[in-house]
Symmetry: C2
Subunit: 569 residues, 2 copies
């Protein structure tokens, strides 16, 4: 079945190896002869295939690639703007992701999973200028496809496809999204990056879903312990839909000649409830029905945020109005003080007007630099803008309706007509959170593996005995490993267990097996001068004899085990 040069070459290599092995192992001459004959045939086929490939030349894409391959060195690297995450990093990332997902379901969310690529027309017209950053797939016959740019548009497409059967829901998505942006690897801006989204769809009473979303992001950031943070609120450019009267109010301010002398003053405002008090005290504002409604909504939101006990995290910034094309109301950004740009100070004092967001178009301070391939690329001078917000979101009441209308072929249907579902959501930049959490883990010398027990044996290896105990413990849901060697020396086994920083070393011996017990050593690691050092438990240098029958219970009852479960190890 060898159809390509590659598989022919592979088969020849196979037969060559077989031939050598047979010769060395003293096989019979007839067998050797047979293999030799087959080898000859294969080499002949390869010659013919190579000639054909050369004749087909550059037109046959498959052959061309193979023919040119041997001369070219493979560049052993990941695609531009992407990277691998190895075991230690992934242990931390999985930890972060678990907290985020757990908070999502604590807030009543259900998981949604959409494909990593969409039909191109689904993404078209949703991202304004940034559409140029969309990754397209090659048209290999059939559909024009693009990698998803965010989770919001696929969610809206999903809700529109559900045709109103899922009009009131809390949905979350965790996964990677793709932007053909200029990557700045060192600062964590990637072409492939992870976002965790939580969205509330449906018609609810004003400001309640908004307050839920803000409370949620505050809960998550507190649990992950990213340090002090502020939720900054700005206004979208398209704040027009029924549930966004607050945004409308702001639009009114900036569009109306009603308060010509005040606009400059209003838009400078930043802050929380004290800002509202200031605005309410302005009789000119209160006299205007639209403004009054806006102020009422702001008051409602602040009341709810007080009930959720997160009001001190909020800073309204009335100087900005921006966002992606699909945003229709308030836009939220979570900014961690540690990651804030120079000059940014947390609520309630002065906010920043330059903080970029992973989801929002931004002004960039750029310079040309050479990348690793020698190509010139723009590098954002992040020292000027900080690493930016770690979560961003907002209200997008028109997006689902836009899909429903387009699917119905009705260009006159406005986004506010039937088939429309108001939505509000937030996207959490998991990579940025990881970038904050990971250095702390390294500094604290946190473990990067969950293995609790390493099973070893002295003397003759006792491999089968080790396997039996390993299986027994694993069946009890204990994370166990051992060295996959038949007769490894004890120090080698200890070294392997120490590489995993296992809290328990169990040593099997012939006589102990007969008598029905095992030796257990408890091990701890502590950071000393920036290095991990093993510390044996007091009086445990020699280990402890434990009844084999009681082993699982004994392990779980130790302080070491409890410390691990409490996250202290």
């Amino acid at each position: 079945m060898a159809s390509s040069l590659d598989s022919l070459e592979g088969e020849i290599e196979t037969q060559n190896a077989l031939f050598n092995e047979l010769r060395l192992s003293g096989s019979d001459p007839a067998g050797l002869e047979e293999v030799k004959k087959k080898l000859g045939e294969l080499k002949k086929s390869l010659g013919q295939a190579k000639a054909k490939a050369a004749a087909d030349g550059a037109t046959a894409s498959g052959s061309k690639e193979v023919a040119g391959k041997k001369k070219e060195r493979i560049l052993l690297k990941t695609a531009k703007g992407t990277r691998d995450y190895g075991p230690a990093e992934m242990f931390c990332r999985e930890y972060v992701e678990r907290i985020v997902k757990d908070c999502f379901s604590t807030y009543g969310g259900s998981c949604l999973d959409t494909p990593v690529f969409e039909r191109k027309e689904i993404l078209a017209g949703k991202y304004g200028e940034d559409a140029k950053l969309i990754f397209d797939l090659m048209d290999q016959g059939g559909e024009q496809l693009s990698l998803r740019y965010d989770h919001t548009v696929p969610l809206a497409r999903y809700l529109a496809m559900m045709g109103g059967t899922n009009t009131q829901s809390k949905l979350w998505q965790v996964g990677k999204v793709y932007r053909r942006d200029n990557p700045v690897m060192s600062k964590g801006r990637m072409r492939e990056f992870s976002q965790a989204d939580f969205d509330i769809s449906g018609t609810w009473d004003p400001m309640i879903p908004d307050a839920e979303i803000i409370s949620l992001i505050c809960t998550i950031l507190s649990k992950i312990d990213v340090g002090e943070f502020t939720i900054k609120m700005v206004f979208s450019r398209y704040a027009v839909y029924p549930q966004t009267r607050l945004g409308l109010f702001l639009l009114l301010l900036t569009n109306s000649t009603n308060f010509p002398d005040k606009i400059g003053e209003y838009v400078k405002h930043k802050g929380g409830p004290e800002l509202l008090a200031k605005l309410l005290a302005d009789s000119a504002l209160s006299a205007n029905p639209s403004a009054k409604q806006g102020l009422d909504d702001m008051g409602l939101l602040f009341t709810y945020l007080s009930a959720y006990n997160v009001i001190d995290k909020i800073s309204f910034d009335m100087s900005l109005a921006r966002g992606l094309d699909y945003y229709t109301g308030i836009i939220y950004e979570a900014i961690v003080d540690a990651s804030a740009p120079p000059g940014f100070k947390a609520n309630p004092s002065v906010g920043s007007s330059t903080t970029p967001s992973p989801a929002l178009p931004k002004k960039k301070v750029t310079k040309k630099v050479k990348n690793e391939d020698g190509e010139e690329e723009e590098e954002v001078d992040e020292s000027q803008v900080g690493v930016g917000s770690i979560a961003a979101g907002g209200r997008y009441d028109g997006l689902v309706g836009m899909f429903s209308a387009a699917a119905a072929g009705d260009s006159k249907k406005s986004a506010t007509s039937k088939g429309s579902i108001p939505c509000i959501g937030i996207s959490i930049g998991l990579d940025r959170i990881f970038a904050l959490v990971w250095p702390k883990w390294v500094e604290k010398g946190k473990r990067s593996k969950e293995t609790m027990v390493y099973v070893m044996a002295a003397g003759d290896g006792l491999l089968v005995e080790r396997m039996k105990l390993v299986k027994e413990l694993r069946d009890a849901n204990i994370k166990v490993d051992f060295l996959a060697k038949k007769k490894p020396k004890l120090p080698v086994q200890f070294a392997a267990g120490e590489r995993d920083e296992v809290p328990f070393a169990i040593i099997l011996g012939e006589s102990e097996i007969k008598e029905g017990y095992v030796m257990v050593k408890q091990q701890k690691w502590e950071m000393v001068d920036g290095k991990k050092v093993k510390v044996l438990a007091e009086g445990d240098e020699k280990g402890e004899k434990v009844d084999r029958e009681q082993l699982v219970e004994w392990l779980r009852a130790t302080q070491t085990w409890k410390d691990w479960e409490d996250g202290k190890l």
Copy 2:
């Protein structure tokens, strides 16, 4: 900043809505006039932009798309061979994934994450004929990229990049892979599908990693409860590397004239230890050094599998030798009886010779059918082949070395030279497992959400009080929800809580709040004639008064809570 027709149109819609809103809310005429003026300017810009787009014609790709858009109806669907997974399905899938990941770490594995796309040359030459199924990205300047086809090749690329610093490890990956195959949605064969991989790399003593992998897959399939299953072993076509003497032995059998009259007999064999006994009893085989070595290894493997207590799951099938180009030893397949093709019976009797695997090339019984778009496509007649294996894997000792050699530009370096790392792994088809588990969940009427408590209020809504209690419970890590309405009627709130099948309904009232308690109703659902029916706990029709201060402890102490934690609800 409106640069495209889309954003201009969006802005016009915004201003239109604003204008109407202002008019209705009785805004001042001056303000109205200003909005009207802006509207006029925008419409003028739109006209100019449209004229320009028409002049640019079909050559400007961006404009073309926008200009043609209004006429075309958007097809509201996911890309061919992909699908969304909604809340209930995802709840089940997340459950399966958690078990798999947990087993992976119980077996000493660490997580690895690689990008969803790779440089095209990384995938080239690894998949033989199936290379035509690789999804390519459009070349948008820079690199030629392809979506990953499996997790094995990216893992080998990662190990080669580590340059020998990670030569002995157990790594797992869970994520989606992509194949431009003909999808058969109804049978669960997709172009985007989820695989969970576990791989052991490094030079270990013979058959120990092999036994670990087989024990692991048995543990996972038992925990997920997919029903009876068999691990079928077949031999790879390229069984040549040092750690695969067993494969070599089989290759020897089929290549040698040593046992001309026996070959037909040997290759018919299927089974476990009794097969080995039969082969060992053959003096002609034992007299041959290579065959003897192969039999010794088979004996070792069976000894280890007995220690792991999984020997009864094994069936060797000596009639087959196949696999992807990179496999070098034994290939494993896990076949669930429920999904086995007609005629397949579990170990130790007769194995199937037609069972396909998601990772292995297969003979297909195909027929032409029209798909939903009216295009003709091949549909595999799955009734002829069964839904196939749910996990497959094998040894690939040459793949990492192939990358190391290619990166060094040394085409003469064989895959067995320095830089090579022997590997063995297994890929679990999560979609196929889900296809087995999901119908059982539906039948049993399992919950599809984790929300434990729904907080409600009678009378005036008590929204802020509800929010405070909700926050309190969420802070205690209890999954809670409530209706995002200001003054919802009690039956509406109950209905919403019942939709989530929450075990606890908590009702707030003015007087109860003052007196410091809440009313709690415990609710259970049972399947009656295939429908979910709510059953109130005995004597709990009116609910129970619970001290607000003790609420969290009280909830956790109930039998209902324990039942949920035990997986009974």
